[in-house]
Amino acid sequence: MNFPAELKYTKDHEWVKIEGDIATVGITDFAQRELGDIVYIDINTIGSDVAEGDIFGTVEAVKTVSDLFMPLSGKVLEVNAQLDANPELVNQDPYGDGWMVKISLTEKDSAGLLSADAYQALIGA
């Protein structure tokens, strides 16, 4: 499994890429493998302010449904429109074309996020 060193991670198996005030969020390679074939990403918080740890959407796999949690507080700016027709991108390219949302951060303190090494230790990979 692949866990890029330049990304930050949460214990809820999301990854975060912070560029200035904007963060891109998706789920990890581990998460997509555990979920299996993903069929629908349901995100109805676009335009809303969502607090860290709150649910910003849901990911539906063939057999399972799982909530998505905000890694940092912010406003959901954009949802990856490609996922509507091609949810399998999350399985195929979780850190690239399978990204889920872009957030405008209201909280810049990312100290609570995990490094790639710490995340790997968490999942025992």
Binding site: K11, D12, H13, E14, I27, A31, E34, L35, G36, D37, V39, Y40, D42, T58, E60, V62, K63, T64, V65, S66, D67, F69, E88, N91, I123
Partner: protein
């Protein structure tokens, strides 16, 4: 008849469950082929006390393999009982709602065991080996319950044997199944009629029972044999089927395949509390003979049922799941989802659920409560896809 879908609230809970599964696995039974599955990279999960492969390459691709070519499921966890003796047929007639007197040697019947309270002990297949010998194939999770239940009616000394632990079962399913397996046996597989079986030599092993049945609607065979031959037969099937693209298939795809056919899964769609008539099992209920609870069921049939198990597809976006509420346009509860998934063949979300009879007609608009939203669906005809 198979897997229970699990709905987790967060990926964290999912991870916790994974750890519990690993702990639990130490106390679980393996099939004779568990090492093969692990070597093939299967994701293993506990199911009915067994360590079973839920998927190998992925549910969607495995599903397509079975619909379009051929795939192999290890379903050795299923239970098999042999009933032998003068009173075997009478015992089956007492516990099964279907009419086993219609069977002939080599014929199979789908049936269920009604309980005394209006529910279902289990659904099963009844095989007539000869006039005095039958094999019952039951769900893994119900082996002990079914055994005790049938024994409680065995007053005439029918010889009952539970051969589950020494019997392996491989389901080879898909439109290319007969071609893929034909080189392994002299039995003319393509000529076998649906719901018949025969015993013979298969992959050099004697006394293999080949059954033209399955739980996928894709055609194919279920092959029963003594578990000591498991690796030999598994390897022979993959070698013979290689030219046809044969692949191992997990319980995940087994569930999506059966759901597309509208086949009931015990524990999801039917259970100790569900009425067989509400579940649409009237076609395997034969009132021309007495059986357990037949009088009450006959009365229920006469009076009409209050609810019906229906198939539905989502009109708006959302995936129905077991235990989600079904409501009408005003938000009044009218029933409950019992199974649901994204159909890999239809690329639509589909489900089964019980609804108030007034909402059971084809094309009726219903709503599924998904995360507090009312998502539009409509009742459709079963099966969701045509049998190939």
């Amino acid at each position: 008849m198979f897997m229970r879908q699990f709905v987790t609230k967060s990926l964290d809970v999912f991870l916790l469950i994974s750890h519990l599964i690993i702990t639990q696995r130490k106390f679980m039974k393996n099939t004779a082929l568990t090492d093969k599955h692990i070597a093939l990279g299967a994701k293993m999960v506990p199911f009915a006390g067994y360590n079973m492969p839920v998927q190998y390459a992925g549910i969607n691709i495995e599903h397509e393999t079975v619909r379009n070519a051929v795939g192999v499921f290890d379903v050795s966890h299923m239970g098999e009982f042999i009933l032998k003796g003068e009173g075997a047929l009478a015992l089956i007639q007492q516990v099964s709602a279907n009419d086993a007197a219609k069977l002939f040697d080599g014929k199979i019947q789908y049936a269920y065991l009604p309980n005394k309270e209006g529910g279902i002990v289990d659904d099963l297949l009844v095989y007539r080996i000869d006039e005095k010998t039958y094999m019952l194939v039951v769900n893994a999770s119900n082996i002990q319950k079914d055994w005790d239940w049938i024994q409680s009616f065995n007053t005439q000394g029918v010889d009952m044997k539970d051969i589950s632990d020494r019997t392996s079962l491989l389901a080879v399913q898909g439109p290319l199944a007969a071609k893929a397996l034909q080189s392994l046996t002299s039995i003319d597989l393509a000529a076998m009629e649906y719901y018949t079986f025969t015993k013979g030599v298969f992959a050099g092993v004697e006394n293999v029972l080949i059954s033209a049945t399955g739980y996928t609607g894709a055609g194919g065979f279920e092959i029963y044999f003594d578990h000591q031959h498991s690796e030999k037969i598994w390897d022979a099937i993959f070698e013979a089927g290689a030219a046809y693209g044969i692949k191992p298939i997990g319980l995940g795809a087994r569930d999506t395949l059966r759901l597309e056919m509208g086949f009931c899964l015990y524990g999801n769609d039917i259970n100790d509390q569900t009425s067989p008539l509400e579940a649409g099992l009237g076609w395997v209920t034969s009132f021309n003979k007495p059986f357990t609870n037949s009088e009450a069921l006959a009365l229920q049939k006469q009076n009409g049922v209050a609810n019906k198990l229906v198939g539905f597809e989502m009109v708006e976006r959302g995936i129905p799941r077991h235990d989600y509420e079904i409501c009408d346009a005003d938000g009044n509860t009218i029933g409950k989802v019992t199974s649901g998934t994204q159909s890999p063949s239809l690329q639509k979300a589909i489900g089964l659920g019980y609804v108030d009879k007034a909402f059971s007609k084809i094309d009726t608009e219903i709503f599924i409560k998904i995360r507090d939203n009312k998502i539009k669906a409509k009742v459709v005809k079963l099966p969701f896809i045509k049998k190939s």
